[in-house]
């Protein structure tokens, strides 16, 4: 018998010992970061960067496969007891000797996870991790000239790149409200002092928003540069238009942080993605009834919100709990009780 077959037999036997739990349920008690466990990380340090941004240093589990500069990682954090998932750019270099990874988080107004991480996260806390992903990365072949166009927390993926790869000719144009709001400001100025970077800071509180037309004046050879841009949608939209108009759109690489923003309303178009049915629903009819009327086979139970027999994944959009008025927005892993939830805007139910 091969060793793999032997190991799988041994594992089966171990499962018989621990049924109905799995051996991993017990191993998680002592070694949650071991190889073979669900990917997790432990927060080891929290370093404030500005008044509303902090770098979180994470020791990832053994299953972590590393990252490429510019990529992001999804993390699952328990905030007020509820597990919430968000994506943040990795800001540590890829060759970090100690095996730790860092993300840098800017607290956004009313941001549950970002405020928690910046202001309340404690070293020692376990978080859930996904593998790093994203194609906002540098090419294999080094470009001769590079431009980084960033605003606000858009600097975070670019910082990962700056720390990782040196180029001969790098220009950065970065916008932030005030000098003290510039994340990594000291490190950026140190790079400038070492002549590794040319930096233009735009302080929008005094200078106003960056007008993309000003690029000619700030970086005259912008069109010759391989450009990585990250920041608010307005900046990226303007950049994409500008680069396209000048026929150099293939030199521009952009990263958008928050693609779809859910606007909760009353009722909306409900898609049952499993069966491909789409119907209009009002804000008062339970989604269970909406689905059944559309001929979708819905799991059901007590029809009054007590038995949890109707829970179904919410893939997109938002729903309102008809009992409490509470809004639930789609996130990976979010299940809703269809018998007491109504559409709060367009939504997608996995049925």
């Amino acid at each position: 018998m091969t060793s793999t077959a032997l190991r799988s037999r041994a594992w089966k036997l171990l499962e018989m010992v621990t049924t109905p739990l799995l051996p991993s349920d017990y191993l998680d008690l002592v070694s949650p970061l071991r190889a073979g466990a669900d990917l997790r990380g432990r927060i080891e340090a929290v370093h404030p960067e500005t008044g509303d941004a902090a770098t979180i240093v994470i020791r990832p589990g053994r299953g972590w496969r590393g990252h490429t500069a510019g990529q992001y990682v999804r993390i699952g954090v328990d905030v007020d007891g509820v597990r919430l998932w968000r994506a943040y750019s990795v800001t540590s270099p890829t060759n970090s000797q100690d095996g730790r990874v860092a993300i840098t988080v800017k607290a956004i107004p009313d941001g549950k996870v970002s405020n928690h991480l910046v202001r309340r996260a404690k070293p020692g806390t376990l978080i859930q991790l996904d593998q790093a992903t994203g194609d906002f990365v540098l090419p294999r072949a080094k470009p001769a000239k590079v431009l980084y166009l960033t605003a606000g927390s858009g600097i975070t993926p670019v910082m990962g790149m700056l720390r990782d790869t040196e180029f001969d000719d790098v220009v950065m144009v970065h916008s932030a409200p005030r000098p003290q709001d510039v994340i990594f400001r000291d490190e950026l100025h140190a790079l400038v002092a070492d002549q590794k970077l040319r930096l233009t800071e735009v302080h929008t509180d005094t200078d106003g928003m960056l007008d993309i037309a000003r690029l000619y004046e700030l970086v005259p050879d912008w069109a010759e540069r391989e450009t990585w841009a990250c920041g608010p949608a307005g900046l990226l939209d303007a950049a994409e238009k500008h680069w396209a108009e000048h026929g150099v759109h293939e030199r521009l690489h952009t990263e958008r942080f928050r693609p779809g923003i859910v606007v909760a309303g009353e009722g909306g178009e409900v898609t049952f993605s499993g069966t491909g049915k789409t119907v209009d629903a009002d804000g008062a009819t339970p989604l269970l009834d909406v689905g059944e009327e559309a001929g979708v086979l819905m799991p059901s139970g007590c029809r009054m919100g007590i038995c949890f027999g109707c829970v179904t994944p919410l893939r997109a959009g938002a729903v309102r709990d008809l009992r409490t008025g509470e809004i639930t927005e789609a996130e990976p892993g979010v299940l809703i009780q269809t018998c007491v939830s109504a559409a709060a805007g367009p939504c997608d139910i996995e049925r």
């Binding site: 036997l13 018989m16 010992v17 049924t19 109905p20 739990l21 349920d25 017990y26 008690l29 328990d78 007020d80 007891g81 509820v82 597990r83 919430l84 139970g301 007590c302 009054m304 919100g305 007590i306 038995c307 949890f308 027999g309 829970v311 009992r323 409490t324 509470e326 892993g333 979010v334 299940l335």
Partner: protein, 372 residues
């Protein structure tokens, strides 16, 4: 059903007001659920796993009598925790709000021969929706016993004290058979129904796994302690079964608990549903340890009003619920465990004999509501 309806003094308007007050209690807990609650259930789960691990470890040396006693006691408590405070409550969706896929009603499996999904259907859906409605709620005597004067008497019921004792000893098998609706399904052509057969196979698989673990694998691992470990796991299962059976009997069987007729729930309002849960359930009074070991089902009344609220919050909810019972002049049936168990058993024995059917007047609330 007693001859006198204990809710007759309430008007339809009052019942709806009661419903609103209960909704407010529920909303308050939901709005304040948070980190402390999440930490609570995680701590309980981790404690249960450690206790089971240590107890099974000690039982490897169970030929040594003190080890047998400690290991058996630990394993009994671990099994009770698994079924009561952890399994029952997670499977109710009480912790789904945490969005932790490992502590979720759709993924949890318990140390029990009834598969979680079948139990959720018969318990969460049928029992909790139709609580104490004769002919709809099979928990009323689990389909084998007569626990209310209004249920029809058969000569079969003469043996029910014995059935109930056997059911208590092998309660998990009783529940599995009950979740399968075995009696009904074995009749006539139903036994060939493919859906029933699939569910029966699932129960068979679960039983095989549980039996193999407790009565073969762990005794074998104990080597020279094979027989004593076997005796220990059997004892732990027996203790767990008798304990959970006793707690559960106290929930709906003691004197003072009301049952309802099918027609009385036609067109039931939210307020009336709440009122039925209040009158159809009974509590057990006692220490914090008592509440914990019963999975907080000692707060059966609160659990039936709000089956999806986290169990650790029932104690604080109970204070407010009891005040509402007083305000609306309703009887809050509660008492210490021995008294409630005795009361439930006395009923089982008494109703094994036929009785005169009492003349009942069900108040016609539908009419009253229409008039209001």
């Amino acid at each position: 059903m007693t001859a006198i309806d204990p809710t007759a003094h309430l008007t339809a308007k009052q019942i709806e007001e009661l419903g609103r007050e209960l909704d407010a209690i529920r909303d308050e807990v939901i709005a304040s659920r948070g980190e402390k609650d999440a930490a609570y259930i995680r701590k309980v789960i981790s404690a249960q796993r450690k206790l089971e691990l240590v107890s099974r470890g000690v039982l490897l040396f169970s030929f040594f009598p003190p080890a047998w006693i400690i290991g058996t006691a630990g394993l009994s408590v671990a099994k009770i925790m698994d079924n009561m405070e952890i399994g029952h409550n997670i499977l109710h969706g009480q912790w789904d709000w945490m969005r932790d896929p490992k502590i979720h009603s759709t993924t949890w499996e318990w140390d029990h021969v009834s598969p979680a999904d079948q139990w959720k259907h018969s318990h969460n859906e049928l029992h909790h929706t139709y609580t104490n409605v004769i002919g709809k709620d099979n928990d009323l005597g689990y389909g084998i016993m007569r626990v209310d004067e209004d249920q029809r008497w058969h000569p079969f019921h003469l043996g029910q004290p014995l059935w109930n004792f056997i059911n208590a000893c092998f309660f998990e098998y009783g529940i599995a058979a009950y979740d399968l609706e075995l009696g009904k399904n074995l009749r006539k052509r139903r036994r060939n129904n493919p859906e029933f057969r699939a569910r029966a196979r699932a129960v068979g698989r679960k039983i095989r796994k549980q039996v193999l673990k407790d009565y073969v694998i762990h005794p074998l691992l104990s080597g020279p302690s094979f027989l004593t470990t076997l005796a220990a796991t059997f004892t732990a299962n027996l203790v767990r079964n008798i304990w959970s059976h006793s707690v559960i009997m106290c929930g709906h069987f003691p004197e003072g608990v009301q049952v309802f007729e099918r027609r009385s729930i036609k067109g039931e309002t939210r307020g009336q549903w709440y009122l039925r849960q209040m009158m159809g359930s009974a509590n057990i009074s006692g220490s914090k340890a008592m509440h914990f070991m019963s999975g907080n089902l000692s707060h059966q009344i609160e659990h039936h009003l709000f089956p999806d609220l986290p169990s650790n919050r029932y104690a604080e909810v109970a204070v407010k619920v009891r005040a509402l019972f007083e305000k609306y002049e309703l009887e809050y049936v509660t008492g210490p465990l021995p008294k409630q168990v005795f009361s439930a058993w006395r009923k089982v024995v008494r109703l094994s004999l036929p009785n005169k059917k009492p003349k009942v007047k069900t108040p016609d609330r539908e009419q009253e509501l229409l008039a209001a």
